[in-house]
């Protein structure tokens, strides 16, 4: 026990003294501050970033399949404060899963033959058994056949002056009963625009009608025909890019721009038509509808817009936040591994000397004269660019300088008489390296750690920029690579999409600079001569 009382860990004591001196360096503290911000961002990424960095989707329950998060190449949504006309993402329908009966109250129901068609709320039906719309059609055998329909309308306000880039309509449906070619069910969607004043430069060739003092433009969309029951539930997306999106496809191109030319009041309708030619038989058809939603994709999204991936555009802000993880992880791990390798080899070569020294140093020379970037590219390509392989390759190519440094310091340390004093009491090689040489090079290790991080960060970014990135993680280099690959810089001009490249560029350099500043401060502590020059 008594021994433990006096035993002090030299490493901890050294660290404390180090911190005391470090605190005095303004540059070091500035570097540490920047680094802390980066580390906090990296650790808190899931809380800061609103979306997945690789494959983000529109949040919500869409059993027909995930919808993209946003339209490609969106501008930041705060552009609206700069006076730009932007449109943002919008979910048109509230309570679209019909989890409560209130959701139905927002819909306006119009039935052509109320004796045959009725609508009710089914609280236990639906895709999640949480409620859905139930439409019943029934005709007695003695009644005359004919066509009946029901129209569900949902009126909403589109607030943006700019038109949306896409709309996606989601619907889940289940049809049972006596559906047959002679008793078919038709489901169609439409949009209506209420116009206070006719728009200039706007041609419209479809049906219009007057309602109150407003002119209403009608945009009948696609109709789905059912000649047999549909069970179990089926789900579908109707996208504005569909070729047959309009009932009369030759009307217009760019449906979004025609339907939503500007802000105003709009109506979305779902028509269910029962075309009953069934003759003298009793007909009973039930149509269940659930998850009715219209997504309007704006041209502005998030804090930094989106990238150009056509299938699943990414939120650049989330990419930026998650990118810090890769850079810090790769930077620190590579520095740690390469410094450990360098330290081991340097101590061994320096202390053992002779053939071992010669062999290790010639090997280090060999690696040093190899052109680094081409070698990195080839190795990363052969090994497939997973994050671990990139770490391995960068570590393997990053230890040589430090090992030479440590070797030379060891050469001088091993001649110091405290090493001889240890030999005189019978200490072995390994003991001397561990207890006498190593503690005296620890400050150099700190310095090397802080100075080899920026190199590793920039190497990782370069590899990613060249396309050698791990497809499962988002990094800053990859963001810049994707900007480059999108051709946006050429087709649209760099300045229009600055928010795609400038933030990752600043992030890479500020992280690298933070380590360099810390390195400066450590260097000042280690080499007091530098301090005087200031």
């Amino acid at each position: 026990m008594a021994e433990r009382r006096v035993k002090t860990s030299t490493l901890a004591a050294g660290l404390k003294g180090f911190w005391f001196q470090f605190r005095k360096s303004k540059r070091g503290m500035a570097g540490l501050f920047i680094l802390c911000i980066h580390v906090i961002v990296a650790l808190m990424a899931p809380f800061i970033a609103p979306n997945d960095p690789i494959r983000p989707t529109w949040p919500g329950y869409f059993p027909a399949g995930e919808a993209p998060l946003a339209f490609m190449m969106c501008v930041p949504s705060w552009y609206k404060y700069l006076g730009r006309e932007v449109s943002e993402n919008m979910e048109v329908i509230d309570g679209y899963t019909f989890a409560s009966e209130q959701a139905l109250q927002k819909w306006n129901v119009a039935i052509s033959q109320p004796t045959r068609v009725s609508l009710s709320y089914n609280p236990t039906g639906g895709t999640l058994n949480d409620g859905c719309i139930e439409i019943t059609y029934s005709r007695q055998a003695n009644e005359a056949a004919g066509t009946s329909s029901i129209r569900l309308s949902y009126r909403f306000t589109y607030p943006y002056k700019a038109h949306p880039q896409r709309f996606w309509i989601h619907a889940s449906y289940l049809i049972n009963g006596t559906v047959s070619p002679s008793t078919s069910v038709h489901v169609s969607f439409s949009f209506f625009r209420e116009d206070a004043e006719p728009l200039a430069n706007y041609t419209y060739r479809g049906p219009t009608y007057q309602k109150d003092s407003l002119l209403v433009y009608e945009y009948p969309l696609i109709t789905y025909d059912f000649y047999s029951p549909v069970s179990p539930w089926r789900h579908m997306w109707t996208r504005s890019t569909k070729r047959e999106i309009f009932e009369k496809p030759w009307w217009y191109r760019a449906p979004e721009a025609k339907i939503f030319p500007t802000s105003g009041n709009y109506t979305f309708t779902v028509d269910v038509t029962f075309n009953d030619q069934g003759g003298a038989r009793t007909q009973q058809v039930k149509v269940y509808l659930d998850n009715l939603q219209v997504l309007l994709y704006g041209n502005a999204y998030g804090l930094l817009g989106t990238d150009a991936d056509p299938a699943a555009p990414r939120d650049l802000f989330s990419s930026l936040i998650y990118g810090s993880r890769v850079s810090i992880f790769v930077g620190l791990l590579v520095a740690l591994i390469s410094v450990t390798i360098g330290l081991t080899i340097g101590l061994t070569a320096g202390y053992i000397g002779g053939v071992v020294d010669e062999g290790l140093m010639r090997f280090a020379d060999l690696l040093m004269v190899l052109p680094t970037l081409p070698l990195l590219i080839v190795l990363a390509y052969i090994l497939s660019p997973s994050i671990w392989n990139i770490v391995m390759v960068l570590s393997f190519l990053g230890w040589m300088g430090f090992s030479r440094n440590i070797r030379s310091v060891t050469l001088s340390l091993r001649e110091r008489s405290f090493v001889e004093a240890a030999k005189v009491v019978g200490a072995g090689r390994f003991y001397i390296i561990r207890k006498h040489i190593f503690p005296n090079v620890v400050p150099l290790v700190y310095l090397a750690l802080s100075l080899s991080v920026p190199g590793a960060i920039i190497s990782e970014a370069s590899l990613s920029f060249l396309g050698l990135f791990d497809p499962n993680v988002m990094s800053w280099g990859r963001m810049i690579n994707e900007f480059n690959g999108s051709g946006v810089a050429v087709t649209k001009g760099f300045s229009d999409y600055w928010f795609w490249v400038i933030p990752p560029g600043i992030a890479i350099s500020s992280l690298a600079i933070s380590f360099i500043l810390i390195g400066y401060a450590l260097d000042e502590i280690l080499n007091p001569k530098l301090r005087m020059r200031r």
């Binding site: 026990m1 008594a2 021994e3 030299t10 405290f418 001889e420 240890a422 005189v424 019978g426």
Partner: protein
């Protein structure tokens, strides 16, 4: 009679001079620094054996060979009759407890990253002779022995928190903690302030007496050696020139080199007479030492060709008084 603890026979250390690759390609001849060139002496139990000479004469090299820090080129070192040169490291490790060394520079010989406790505990740990509380007790005991009291105040200190004298006391304690029989003390006070030298030396003397330790005391200061040592050997360019008991060496020095060294020592009594012998020039290079007697280039009593041609051997003149000079043949 007391027993011989250490006997050195024809001990030799030639350091090869490493040259550049090109030079060694063109010239086959190997060059050596003849730091120690066939010396013989023996040290008895409890004896303080002084090794005196100018700097560069091979004293430190001799001391380092005795504790096996470097391997001799040839020759024998017999510790109680056993040759330690031919032993393997494993065989020698337990003997290290008996043969210790105090280094010249206390600012260099203590690891700046270790506390006093760790420095003093290291020999015990490496030699695996004590554990846990026993280490603590022995360290405190040795700190008291070297008069660093109270020990608790020093245990946690780092070398840079100690004065030079305190450091050399720690170094002394470190050499003593394994209870050695023999210590090489390589100019242990030459780096200390003159004012504290006596204190440290007295401490060492006293400890050697109480612990019964034999010393090889290396110094360039003949006056100091005279007060401390029982026997003194005078070295010049890797050779022993004269070896005698301290009294007889100082009272009747035989070798011209010894006489010259004594002449350089300031004498407290100005009326006392002493042969005024001076030597001129610098010590020659040990790479190419003078032929014959190494001292002949600077010898005030040079007697001709024989000094240049023949190397004088150490012969006994009078009781236990050895000298290597052609004057006494």
């Amino acid at each position: 009679m007391t027993e011989t603890i250490l006997k050195v026979e024809k001990l030799k250390k030639w350091f090869p001079i490493t040259r550049g690759l090109l030079r060694s390609l063109f010239s086959r001849r190997e060059l050596y620094v003849r730091a120690v060139d066939e010396i013989d002496f023996e040290i008895k139990e409890r004896e303080i054996f002084g090794l005196v000479g100018e700097s560069g004469s091979g004293k430190t090299t001799t001391g380092r060979m005795l504790v096996r820090l470097i391997e001799p080129t040839s020759g024998k070192i017999l510790y109680r009759g056993k040759d330690i040169v031919s032993m393997s490291d494993e065989e020698f490790k337990p003997l290290r407890k008996k043969l210790q060394m105090i280094f010249q520079d206390p600012y260099e010989s203590l690891n700046p990253k270790m506390t006093v406790f760790d420095i003093l505990a290291e020999p015990l740990r490496v030699q695996n002779v004590a554990h846990g509380d026993e280490i603590y007790e022995r360290v405190c005991k040795i700190l008291e022995d070297v008069e660093l009291t109270p020990p608790q105040e020093f245990l946690q200190r780092y070398p840079h928190e100690l004065s030079g004298g305190q450091r050399q006391r720690v170094a002394t304690g470190r050499a003593l903690i394994l209870n050695p029989e023999f210590i090489v003390a390589d100019e242990p006070v030459s780096m200390l302030d003159v004012s504290i030298r006596a204190e440290v030396l007295n401490l060492m003397l006293q400890l050697s007496e109480t612990h019964g330790i034999a010393f090889l005391y290396i110094t360039h200061d003949l006056a100091l050696a005279r007060h401390l040592c029982d026997t003194i050997a005078v070295m010049y360019l890797g050779k022993i020139m004269e070896l005698a008991s301290a009294d007889s060496l100082i009272k009747e020095p035989l070798h011209p080199y010894t006489k010259a060294l004594l002449a350089a020592v300031p004498v407290p009594d100005p009326t006392s007479k002493r042969a005024e012998v001076t030597i001129k020039g610098e010590i020659p290079s040990p790479v190419n030492p003078p032929s014959g007697c190494r001292f002949h280039t600077r010898c005030p009593q040079f007697i001709g060709e024989i000094c240049k041609k023949e190397t004088p051997s150490l012969v006994e003149i009078g009781s236990h008084h050895y000298v290597a000079c052609h004057l006494y043949r």
